[in-house]
């Protein structure tokens, strides 16, 4: 009995496949449109996931706490002397000054992120070289040396050259020499970055001695980041205290918001497709009516015809899902999500050449299935009930 039932299901599946093949042009067009919708949704999901993962991975190297001085709601330079006030807080391992600013290149109409770092003072300073694809990080003695991101290299058209100049605020030129290039794997943070020593950054931005833009605080026990941040806030109320988890969260929120915005647009497209599918499944051509009536006279039950329609929808949506998700994976991994980069990476001229590798978690795949296949099945199988109840006697004459 069970064997007979299995054979029956296989026969019906076989008939559903042949039915799709007979209407191959219609089936293929539905499949392609559906696959395109799934491709867009899955791409968004994968790229957001990959960006968030990448941001989390790269941000591990950032300071545990960053301090910035605020005045009338704006950031201003922070005195180096504040370091002394931090000395009394238990748990702080080291306080390292940093100058962080933006340099606008009027020729290329692009912003470069310039960072003056005291690498020698940073606890993991020596490890920063691992972020480089070649060369070394500029040390305190390396006057005029810089490490640059991949887009900076392209924007300045350095190619064989290693030297370039940037303007000081008084429009005098300051020369630099490239001592290292950041690895493309760190593009999400280093793409538009120029790293130099603290003295060169101070000279480039004309920041007076004794002032920096940030103080980077490293703690002895990472479990105590929040406690120490709270103590610093209490000690210095005019200082903005940013913790690494907060920055990580900001990245997640930014990507999540952008992805959500895109997903809402795409879900609208999906809804339109589902409505169309519903409309198509509700209508019944004279040929389809005739076929159903013939099948019913020949001994097919209403449920058998519903199962045919169900399998047809499962095959179309399953194939569309495989095609759409595979295309999305290729788009994200091999084409660095080129369709969505403006949305997800901002509108900067120097956009990172990302090398994303999304983790395919079962939960994410199930989520995509839930948002695509299930509405399609509902939109096609529920109205199929109407078609499956065509009376068998309509195959007979009058």
């Amino acid at each position: 009995m069970a064997q007979r039932n299995l054979e029956k299901q296989l026969n019906i599946l076989d008939y559903a496949l042949s039915s799709l093949w007979r209407r191959r042009l219609k089936s293929l067009s539905v499949l392609l449109v559906f696959a395109a919708v799934i491709f867009l949704l899955a791409s968004f999901q994968m790229v957001t996931k990959a960006l968030s993962d990448k941001a989390r991975e790269v941000l591990v190297h950032t300071p545990e706490i960053t301090l910035q001085k605020m005045s009338v709601g704006r950031q201003e330079a922070i005195p180096l002397a504040y370091r002394d006030r931090l000395a009394g807080i238990f748990g702080i391992r080291r306080v390292v000054p940093r100058i962080w600013g933006y340099y606008f290149d009027e020729v290329r109409l692009a912003n470069y992120t310039v960072m003056g770092m005291a690498v020698e003072e940073m606890p993991d300073g020596a490890r920063l070289d691992t972020a480089l694809a070649s060369g070394t990080m500029p040390g305190p003695a390396g006057q005029g040396l810089v490490a640059i991101g991949q887009s900076i290299k392209k924007a300045l058209a350095l190619e064989g050259r290693t030297t370039f100049s940037l303007f000081r605020p008084d429009l005098s030129l300051k020369a630099f020499e490239v001592s290292g290039e950041f690895s493309p794997d760190t593009d999400i943070l280093t793409n538009d970055l120029v790293v130099m020593n603290l003295a060169d950054a101070r000279d480039l931005f004309a920041i007076p001695a004794g002032l920096v833009t940030d103080l980077c605080v490293y703690v002895a026990n990472p479990q105590e980041i929040d406690t120490i941040a709270k103590k610093i806030s209490e000690t210095m109320p005019s200082v903005r205290v940013l913790t690494r988890p907060q920055i990580q969260k900001t990245y997640q929120v930014v990507f999540g918001w952008r992805s959500g915005f895109g997903s809402i647009c795409l879900l609208t497209a999906l809804a339109a497709f589902v409505i169309l599918a519903w409309d198509k499944a509700s209508g019944l051509s004279p040929e389809e009516r005739r076929e159903i009536a013939i099948l019913k006279v020949l001994g097919w039950q209403t449920s058998d015809i519903l199962v045919v329609r169900f399998w047809e929808s499962v095959i179309v949506s399953g194939l569309a899902c495989v095609v759409g998700m595979t295309a999305a994976y290729i788009h994200v991994v091999y084409f660095a999500a080129s369709l969505f980069r403006p949305v997800l990476m901002g509108w900067s001229v120097l956009r990172p050449d990302l090398h994303l590798l999304p983790r395919l978690a079962a939960g994410d795949i199930l989520l995509t299935l839930a948002f695509t296949v299930i509405p399609y099945l509902a939109a096609t199988v529920i109205p199929a009930w109407r078609s499956a109840t065509v009376p068998a006697d309509s195959a007979l004459g009058g």
Binding site: G299, D393, L396
Partner: protein, 225 residues
């Protein structure tokens, strides 16, 4: 009696404004192995009567027993199951699905029965050979001649070896030669023990010597001359 109808009536849309009384008080018995022709003009109720005999729907009132099973108040699901086992249908214009191959058309009734593909092919090949159309097995049914189409329809009606064959205006769209050929095949089936009911107003059918009895239907009633 293999088919036994007593006081059978059929009313469509009962109790509504568009109520139609299609059959009234029909008494009919068909013995096993006989061939009966239901004769009458279009709209006389022949197809409705055929549909009741064919277990497509039960009568509104009266008693209908097909192959010793009472049809009245039988749910649709059980009517279908009974139809699968008992009735082979041949339709007007044969109602073959033109995009399917001849073999696929013939084996359609076997799919919901869970008959495996090998057995389906074997049964169909036997019938194709019997009706001399084996060479057309892989052809799309829309590309074969009217005579071959007729044999495909008959083969489909016999694929599950049902004891009753019902034919609804089978010669309505056939020329004289093909109509004769059809009746010859019906005669062979009758001789093989099948019970056959044909609804037709074609003299070639109701005057055929193999017909045991002709029943005239007029305005939903059996007309007695």
């Amino acid at each position: 009696m293999l088919i036994e109808l007593s006081g059978v009536s059929k009313i469509y849309n009962q109790g509504r404004a568009n109520e139609v009384r299609a059959l009234s008080d029909i008494d009919l018995g068909v013995e096993q192995g006989s061939m009966v022709c239901l004769k009458g003009p279009s709209g006389s109720g022949k197809s409705t009567l055929l549909a009741i005999i064919g277990c497509i729907f039960p009568p509104t009132s009266g008693r209908a027993a097909i192959a010793e099973r009472q049809l009245a108040r039988l749910p649709d699901r059980f009517l279908t199951l009974h139809r699968r086992e008992t009735i082979g249908f041949i339709f007007q214009r044969f109602n073959i699905l033109p995009e399917l191959t001849v073999l696929e058309n013939i084996t359609l009734p076997l799919l919901p029965l869970g008959v495996p593909p090998k057995e389906r092919r074997q049964r169909a090949q036997e019938l194709l050979a019997r009706f001399a159309i084996s060479h057309r097995a892989r052809f799309p049914a829309g590309q074969i001649s009217g005579g071959e189409l007729q044999r495909v329809a008959i083969a489909r009606a016999l694929i599950n070896n049902q004891p009753i064959i019902l034919a609804d205006e089978p010669t309505a769209h056939l020329d004289t030669a093909l109509s004769r050929e059809f009746m010859e095949i019906m005669q062979q089936l009758k001789e093989a023990g099948k019970t056959i009911v044909i609804a037709s107003h074609d003299p070639l059918v109701f005057e055929h010597p193999a017909i045991d009895r002709t029943v005239t239907i007029q305005d939903g009633r059996i007309h007695v001359p």
